[in-house]
């Protein structure tokens, strides 16, 4: 099953299970989704539950938050997370703070989802990786799946969650095929990382699309005799720091790979926490691989260089495991 269909199945199953769940966003209904994630959902659920909106991010995001306060469980599609910046006030200033500022009276069980990240030569405004920017805000949860089965399990958990969940999909992964378990209760718990490859010499921690670059790098490094353990964090908030700690105690080295900019990013947070918690276990300082600290370029070769890739990860691992 494709990644996009896994998300669709998760949403559809939850909508069948719970009448309070609805999908709202630009082109989600009659167009079947700009990236075809909601393909067929209008036919099944009708226009009352799969709702096309005008290009009006601030309006429909705020509207969905009001609906969530009233007890519905909206799934809001941002065609691209880049466009969510238009809705920054409702999604960052309202949704995550409602429970706190109402003293626990009004929660906001809502999922914001959409395509996140560069990689399609879309130029600077359409290529945001918002995890660094948005994960700074307490009150949100953030899930970033790397595989179709996780996409389904995390989405189902996100919809059932009582807090606002930011669900980041990479357009570059939507066509990825993989086994997806069936069954209504196939949930993936938030805050529980997944070890994607066992290894002894260096831990590589990542989430979302770069996990695949990490596995590619680990494969190449294995040929050089460097054994890497690859951890897919799956959610950034909550962050399964325990899984990284356990792995670092085994490998003594950590490379963290993050597709957002380096300054004040989840990758920086992981590095800081690991330095704090595993100082005596580390053979080397934590190495970070980030997107380059420049706006996203259009040119194909520049964009490839802009993003984290297997080559950069290999270099970081070699540097981390180097013993003079």
């Amino acid at each position: 099953m494709e990644f996009r269909d896994a998300i669709r199945d998760a949403m559809s199953e939850e909508m069948r299970r719970d009448a309070r769940v609805m999908l709202i966003g630009e082109e989600v209904a009659e167009y079947n989704g700009a990236y075809k994630v909601s393909r067929g959902m209008l036919d099944e659920f009708g226009a009352r539950r799969v709702i096309d909106t005008p290009i009006s991010e601030s309006g429909f995001a705020g509207m969905a938050i009001g609906a969530a306060m009233m007890g519905l469980r909206p799934v809001v599609e941002f065609m691209s997370w880049s466009f969510s910046l238009v809705a920054a006030d409702p999604i960052l200033n309202n949704a995550p703070k409602m429970l706190f500022m109402s003293g626990g009276q009004f929660g906001c069980p809502i999922v914001f989802r959409g395509n996140d990240g560069a990689g399609g030569q879309l130029g600077s405004t359409h290529s945001w990786c918002v995890e660094g920017l948005f994960s700074n805000v307490p009150g949100i949860k953030m899930a970033i799946p790397a595989t179709p089965d996780d996409a389904k399990g995390l989405m189902k958990t996100a919809i059932r969650d009582d807090d606002p969940v930011f669900f980041l999909e990479s357009e570059r992964l939507l066509g990825l095929k993989g086994e997806v378990p069936v069954g209504e209760d196939v949930l993936v718990k938030f805050g529980e990382a997944r070890v994607r490859r066992a290894g002894a010499d260096c831990t590589i921690a990542s989430w979302g699309r770069p996990v695949h670059f990490c596995l590619e790098a680990a494969e190449a490094l294995a040929k050089e005799g460097i054994s890497c353990e690859v951890i897919d964090l799956r959610t950034i908030r909550p962050l399964d720091i325990g899984a990284i700690v356990r792995s670092v105690k085994k490998t003594s080295n950590l490379v963290v790979v993050d597709q957002s900019w380096s300054f004040g990013s989840p990758g920086s947070e992981v590095a800081a926490q690991i330095h704090q918690r595993c100082f005596d276990d580390l053979d080397n300082h934590v190495h970070r691989v980030h997107t380059e600290d420049v706006p996203a370029p259009y040119a194909f070769n520049l964009e490839q260089e802009y993003l984290p890739n297997a080559r950069k990860i290999c270099e970081a691992v070699r540097s981390a495991t180097y013993n003079a």
Partner: protein, 388 residues
């Protein structure tokens, strides 16, 4: 309501706009019991705000404090036109709406004081009055931010009634905003969505002529006729005299019932005036004492007091007794708030998420679903599992 002068003197009609239709004169007077209750609410809000100003000066209240003095008739009349189950959402000048909606003066004042007995346990403050039991969905601090929320509340009531319960939409959402919010994008997006989706929401613009210190004529196009803003979105608009409680009540009753019946949004240009500054830190040098005096002559409490006396709904003695009663209630609220404990420091970490959340922010420690009654089942993750 003052009218523009023609003799060269400055106009005190801060709205400078269309004449306000009179509706109440042709209507039967509401029951005396209702009039007495409304009078008490008007006076309660006024007294509450006066005490807030004192408490603010005594440094018992911190932050921003936007008082509602002058606009009391709007909150009381609008809420009276609603049913208790109709959702209400408002902006940061929200004490009046909260009290009119039934929040106790104690809960409201304790919130202002940042105490644990406040409506939001002291975590919201003056601008964030929430009261779930009374269907008050909050005061909201960013100008205009509540307008899409209002559309969302209306969307949800309609969805719950029609999609989930297979019935007919029966609730009306009321969303208050100031005239300054008309220049925010969120207002226009919300009106467009409400119009497109046939949402039963009434947008009430408490048009007091000033967005902070900027007069409406300096900040808003078409300021003489705000209805043009709504008509552009195909939404019915009306003008109501917000200084006269009966006008507010009858006018809003018409608007709300039409909205309920047709499940269509509505827009109201509610003409009113705030006697005090935008917030406690505003010396209001952008307007004249002369202007304020003219408006004070048309004070909403004075107008209504005259009316209840004429109607024989209350005697002078009853009015005095009501005022005394309210003074006692508010004094008690201040005392209550003052004696209420400050929130325990552990409260800082509560209500961030529904489940417990650790002090080490953002990590999955402690176990997030540890306390849930029905923990969901999760797919086990095996070490070294590789599904690629």
């Amino acid at each position: 309501m003052p009218t523009p002068t023609t003799d060269g003197k400055p106009s005190h009609d801060v709205h400078g706009g269309l004449p306000v239709p009179r509706r109440a004169a042709n209507r039967p007077a509401p029951a005396a019991e209702l009039l007495r209750a409304w009078y008490r609410e008007l006076v309660l809000i006024r007294e509450f705000e006066i005490r807030c100003m004192q408490a603010y000066q005594d440094k018992k209240i911190g932050g921003f404090c936007h008082v509602y003095i002058g606009q009391e008739a709007v909150a009381v009349g609008c809420v009276a036109a609603l049913k208790p189950e109709d959702p209400l959402v408002t902006a940061y000048r929200d004490h009046g709406h909260a009290l009119a909606r039934g929040m106790t003066a104690r809960a409201c004042m304790a919130e202002m004081f940042g105490r644990v007995d406040g409506c939001a346990k002291g975590k919201g403050g003056s601008m964030h009055m929430f009261d779930k039991a009374n269907n008050l969905f909050g005061g909201h601090g960013i100008v205009g931010a509540q307008t899409p929320l209002g559309a969302g509340l209306a969307f949800a009531t309609k969805y719950q009634d029609e999609v989930i319960n297979k019935g007919k939409s029966s609730r009306v959402t009321m969303c208050f905003l100031g005239d300054g919010a008309l220049n925010q994008g969120s207002f226009h997006e919300a009106l467009n969505l409400a119009g497109l989706m046939d949402l039963p929401v009434v947008y009430v613009v408490e048009n007091n002529g000033y967005s902070m210190g900027t007069s409406i004529h300096r900040g808003t196009t078409q300021s003489h006729d705000l209805s043009s803003k709504a008509l552009g979105y195909g939404i019915d608009a009306s003008v109501i005299d917000g200084m006269n409680l009966l006008e507010v009540y009858h006018g809003m009753k018409d608007v709300v019932e039409k909205c309920r019946e047709r499940s269509r949004p509505a827009f109201v240009d509610m003409r009113c005036y705030r006697y005090k500054g935008h917030s406690m830190s505003d010396p209001r040098k952008y307007r004249t004492r002369d202007e304020e005096e003219v408006w004070e002559q048309g004070d909403p409490i004075g107008i209504f007091e005259k009316y209840v006396l004429e109607q024989g709904a209350m005697t002078h003695d009853q009015i005095k007794a009501a005022q005394k009663d309210v003074k006692t209630e508010v004094r008690d609220a201040v005392q209550f708030a003052d004696q209420s404990p400050v929130p325990p420091l552990t409260d800082l970490y509560h209500d961030v998420y529904r489940e417990p959340w650790g002090r080490y922010t953002g990590t999955s420690e402690p176990q997030m679903y540890g306390g849930a009654q029905n923990p969901p089942t999760f797919r086990a993750t095996r070490e070294g599992e590789d599904l690629l």
